[in-house]
C-alpha cells in the first residue's frame, strides 16, 4: 500500500515537473515568428521552375538537399543491417508453423499483392508530379510483402535478390552523384536535360525521377527485409531447449 502511494507520488511529481518545463517552453514559444519572408524555402520555390519538377518537395528532397537523402538511405541501410545482426537466425532453430493452406487466402493475398505493388510503383514513378515518391512507394511495396507473410508465414523471400537490389541501387545512387561530378563538375547535379516546357509530364526533371526510382527500389527491398525479420521472429517460435 505504502509502495503504491510512493509510486503515485513519483508520478505526480514527474508530471508536474514536465508540465512546468513545457509551460516555460510554451511561454518562450509565444515569441516565435510565424510569417517569415525570404526563407530558403521561398528562394527554392522561385528556383524550382528551373528543375522542371511539378512537386517542389520532391525537388528539395532529391536535388536541393540531395545529400540529405543519401544520408537518409544510409541510415535505413544501417538500421536494416543492425536488425539483421540482431535477429538473424544463425544461432537458433525455428520450428515450422503448421500452416493450413487456405485456397482463398492464398489466391486473394497474391492477387492483392499485384495491386499493392502496382500502386507502390505508381507512387514512386509519379513522385515528381504528385505527392509521394521513393520512400512512400517503397514502404507501400514492403507492406505488400507484409500481407504475403501474414497469409503464409512459411514463405521465404529470396535474400540474394533483395541484397542485390539493395546494394546495387545504393551504389547506383552514389555513382550518379560521381558521374555528375565528371559531367558538370558538381556532385549530385542535374546533368540530364530538363527543359522547363516539359513540366508536368512523366518524363521531366532530368535525374530527379531516376533518383526517386532508385530510392524506391532501395527502400522497398530494405523495408521488405525488415518486415521479413520481424515476421519470422514473431511466427516461427523458437524450439525450447530440451
Amino acid at each position: 500500500m505504502n509502495l503504491k502511494k510512493e509510486f503515485r507520488l513519483k508520478h505526480i511529481v514527474l508530471s508536474l515537473l514536465s508540465s512546468a518545463l513545457m509551460l516555460s517552453i510554451l511561454g518562450l514559444l509565444s515569441h516565435v515568428k510565424t510569417n517569415l519572408h525570404k526563407t530558403v524555402g521561398d528562394i527554392v520555390l522561385s528556383l524550382n521552375m528551373q528543375t522542371a519538377t511539378a512537386n517542389a518537395v520532391t525537388s528539395v528532397v532529391t536535388f536541393f538537399r540531395g545529400i540529405d537523402t543519401v544520408g537518409e538511405v544510409t541510415v535505413l541501410f544501417l538500421a536494416t543491417t543492425g536488425i539483421a545482426l540482431m535477429l538473424s537466425s544463425t544461432q537458433r532453430t525455428y520450428k515450422k508453423v503448421v500452416h493450413q493452406e487456405s485456397f482463398i487466402l492464398d489466391i486473394g493475398s497474391k492477387m492483392l499483392l499485384n495491386v499493392i505493388v502496382l500502386f507502390g510503383v505508381y507512387v514512386i514513378v509519379h513522385g515528381h508530379l504528385s505527392p509521394g515518391g521513393g520512400f512512400q512507394g517503397g514502404v507501400v511495396i514492403a507492406t505488400a510483402f507484409l500481407l504475403l507473410f501474414l497469409a503464409n508465414p512459411n514463405m521465404k523471400l529470396k535474400h540474394s535478390i533483395l541484397t542485390l537490389g539493395e546494394s546495387l541501387s545504393g551504389a547506383a545512387y552514389v555513382l550518379i552523384a560521381i558521374i555528375s561530378l565528371f559531367k558538370i563538375n558538381i556532385l549530385l547535379g542535374n546533368f540530364l536535360p530538363h527543359p522547363v516546357s516539359q513540366i508536368g509530364e512523366l518524363v521531366s526533371g532530368g535525374i530527379i525521377p531516376i533518383i526517386y526510382i532508385i530510392v524506391g527500389i532501395k527502400v522497398g527491398s530494405e523495408m521488405s527485409v525488415i518486415v521479413e525479420y520481424f515476421v519470422k521472429e514473431d511466427y516461427l517460435k523458437e524450439v525450447p531447449h530440451a
Binding site: 507492406t143 507484409l146 521472429e233 514473431d234
Partner: protein, 83 residues
Amino acid sequence: MIGITILFTFLAILSVAFYAILSKDITQSVILFMGVGLGSVVLFFIFQAPDVALTEAVIGTGLSTAVFLLGIRHTSIDKEMES
C-alpha cells in the same frame, strides 16, 4: 471551419496519446499510438503537406505499427499472448 477541425483533431490526438501512455496493455497502447499517427495524417493534410501526410500514413501509421505489433510478442511476459 478549418480552425475548428484543427482544434478537435488536436484534442483527439492528445487524448489518444494520453491513453496510449497510460494503458497497461502494450497491444492496446500500440493500437492507440496508431491513432496519434492517423490524427497527424489529417492535420498534415490540412496544413497543405500531402507529401508528409502520405509518408506519415505509410510509415508512422502503417509500417511502424506493424513492426511494433510483430515485435511486442517477444518483448513482453504477457501470459495470454504466450498461449
